[in-house]
């Protein structure tokens, strides 16, 4: 018998091409996802050496970061630099024979939404992308992490990366998840507990009854924000929920190949007795809807909890950081954010723009109105999410409530495409980062779940969604 291994160990070990003494591992990459903003310099590195993409069939590109979500924008003409960035990706993909889901393609969407949705992201794979939220795909039981543009070039040219083996950490969510909270609240609680650098150097494996009970889309939300605790990646062991989600997807294995794949995947979960470098426990039995109050994702609390005071911080550095954050946010310490007036609500991003997220927001909005003076944008995570949402009439709920129903893209999460918050304005956002200026220079972001975002749109202020959710509601 070999020694018990973790899920991470198994995926890592199966992808080490070479490991010379004192050198990093040469790690094979099964799936390389590419988007327009971080790939041009990677392709350029190949051009400079006269190289071609080694495995175009393992490389898939999309356009998401800078594409407009206003349906009329293309007719009006795009900014020159946007056109150039998009056409550069097109030219690179054409030259190298890489599949590209460009604007107009029915499979296009946010890179971390379409990977699982198309069945590309599968258990046991190594998956990389020039984007930190690549951790999302860990929900499939894959080892998935973000890389820089130089590394994008390495993978394009060799299908490999040089990597030191990270440490492993087990994150166990203990207790039954109460009604009215979900994966977004779980991960915001975890990040608040361990801190924005608490996972540095580690790959998280999420375990516990509360994780097993999550849908695949909710597991994606959980894994997506692993990077906001500084973790290299987050993973959930594949189970019947995973296989049920994947089976029949456009690019998933089918027929005999499917049966063989499932047999392989069933061996992936962490063995009994396997050890982790670290153990983290998060109690979710009394979890409230989480909202961030500061300028990094670890500065969060339950919507009904008081914002902490800088004076209560244990050291000078955290006193300075929290004081600076509260000053930037113009948020008062010592009382909850509940009732803080807001200007914009954004439902979207690779964290929370899947069909279940839109259903969750719609369940709150149905029969209600977005408060006068508040702008609400709903940006589906992909063309497929948009089609599915429209097929069940969710867009009508959003439009009837007074929200905007837009085209897919990263949109106001990163504010590169013209969707942005004005200086000094507040958004409740289902995205993943509340850094200074993230949603536009001077913007102020409260991160929350789709339900909390929708409830806040109705109230025109930060709100607790629980009173608006039917018993046994959307989640």
């Amino acid at each position: 018998m070999s020694a018990p291994r973790t899920l991470f160990d198994k995926v890592w070990d199966a992808h080490v091409v070479a490991q010379e003494p004192g050198r990093p591992a040469v790690l094979y990459v099964d799936l390389h996802l590419v988007h327009e903003v971080t790939s041009a310099q990677g392709f350029l590195a190949l051009d400079e050496r006269g190289l071609m993409v080694r495995r175009p069939e393992r490389t898939v590109a999309t356009m998401d970061h800078i594409t407009p979500t206003d349906p009329g924008a293309y007719a009006q003409g795009l900014e020159e630099v946007v056109t150039k960035t998009l056409s550069t990706l097109e030219a690179n993909c054409r030259k190298h024979g890489v599949r590209l889901y460009a604007v107009g393609d029915r499979r296009r969407g946010i890179v971390h939404v379409i990977g699982p949705e198309l069945g590309l992201s599968q258990p046991g794979m190594t998956i990389v992308c020039g984007d930190s939220h690549t951790s999302t795909h860990g929900a499939m039981g894959a080892l998935a992490f973000g890389i820089g543009s130089s590394e994008v070039g390495h993978v394009l040219a060799t299908q490999c990366l040089l990597q030191r083996r990270p440490e492993s950490a087990r994150v166990r969510f203990e207790g039954r998840l109460p009604a009215g909270v979900g994966a977004k609240d779980m991960v915001l609680r975890l990040i608040a507990q361990v801190g924005i650098g608490g996972g540095t150097g580690s790959v998280f494996e999420y375990q516990g009854e509360a994780v097993r009970g999550l849908s695949m889309e909710a597991r994606m939300t959980l894994c997506n924000m692993s990077i906001e605790a500084g973790a290299r990646a987050g993973m959930v062991a594949p189970d019947d929920t995973t296989y049920a989600y994947l089976q029949g997807r456009e690019l998933a294995p089918a027929g005999a190949a499917w049966d063989a794949a499932v047999a392989r995947w069933r061996a992936l979960p962490t063995d009994d007795g396997a050890t982790f470098d670290r153990e983290i426990t998060v109690d979710v039995a009394r979890l409230s809807p989480m909202v961030t109050f500061g300028t990094n994702p670890a500065m969060g609390a339950g919507v009904d909890e008081a914002v902490p005071s800088p004076d209560a911080m244990p050291d000078a550095a955290s006193r300075t950081a929290l004081g600076k954050a509260l000053d930037y946010m113009q948020v008062e310490a010592g009382k909850p954010l509940l009732g803080k007036p807001i200007d914009v609500v954004f439902v979207g991003s690779c964290t929370n723009a899947r069909l279940s997220d839109l259903r969750e927001a719609a369940a709150v909005l149905r029969g209600r109105k977005v408060k006068d003076g508040v702008r609400m944008l709903v940006v589906p995570g992909s063309e497929a999410v948009k089609r599915d949402a429209e097929a069940e009439g969710l867009h009508e709920t959003f439009l009837a409530a007074g929200a905007e129903w837009r085209e897919t893209g990263c949109s106001m999460c990163i504010a590169m495409n013209g969707d942005m918050l004005a200086p000094g304005r507040y958004a409740v956002s289902t995205s993943n980062r509340n850094f200074e200026g993230r949603q536009g220079p001077g913007s102020r972001t409260f991160l929350a779940s789709p339900a909390t975002a929708a409830a806040s749109a109705v109230a025109g202020a930060v709100a607790d969604p629980r009173p608006l959710l039917d018993a046994g509601g959307a989640r």
Binding site: A18, G230, R433
Partner: protein
């Protein structure tokens, strides 16, 4: 005078230092997303910390900052996005080393590939660096890459951890892509049996 070794990294690197003493400085502050809409690295040094530079009191607006090659920051520098535009902007400004108590993983990887050295020091050393620069803002720090040591103005030498392979690459000019390409036979053999 500092010479250059085969990788182009200055040995030794001696310079005055700029202090931005905040923890968790994220890549959105280093290079705001609106400057990522470009297909090359040109001009990124000019937008480094551009939103914070609107404040005349910000460290990069002080005399001598333009010539500094070393940045001293707080804990967990470079957290957030994977954008390599962050090290490109820092190098574009002229920085070749960042002194901090820790770095975010992706930033650290990206920095290594761009001749930008993450110098990780324990909190006590960090405090002495900060105190020395507070006493004399024009004082110089030295990064001794071959020895993997930071030399404080007092002459104190503080060792910093640097991955052996990264150290080797920075000293010899070995490039990682070349190293990977040399593994072509092993990669081909791996692919033949990998599902």
């Amino acid at each position: 005078m500092s010479a250059e070794n085969p990788s182009g990294y200055p040995v030794p690197l001696r310079s005055r230092a700029v202090r931005v003493l905040l923890d968790n400085i994220d890549t959105d502050q280093i290079t705001p997303a609106r400057f990522l809409k470009s297909t090359d690295k040109a001009g990124l040094g000019e937008v480094l910390f551009c939103d914070w530079r609107k404040d005349p009191a910000f460290a990069l607006n002080q005399p001598g900052a333009r010539d500094a090659r070393i940045l001293v920051a707080g804990d967990n520098f470079g957290c957030g996005s994977s954008r390599e535009h962050a090290p490109w902007a820092l190098v574009g400004w002229g920085f070749r080393a960042i002194v901090a108590t820790s770095f975010a993983d992706i930033f650290r990887n990206n920095a290594h590939k761009n001749g930008l050295l993450p110098v990780i020091v324990p909190p006590a050393v960090h405090a002495r660096v900060v105190a020395a620069l507070e006493a004399d803002p024009a004082a110089e720090l030295e990064v001794d890459l071959p020895a993997r040591e930071l030399v404080l103005p007092s002459g104190e030498r503080a060792a910093f951890p640097l991955d052996d392979f990264v150290h080797h690459c920075l000293l010899t000019g070995l490039d990682e892509l070349g190293y990977l390409l040399a593994h072509d036979p092993q990669i081909t053999a791996f692919e033949a049996k990998h599902p």
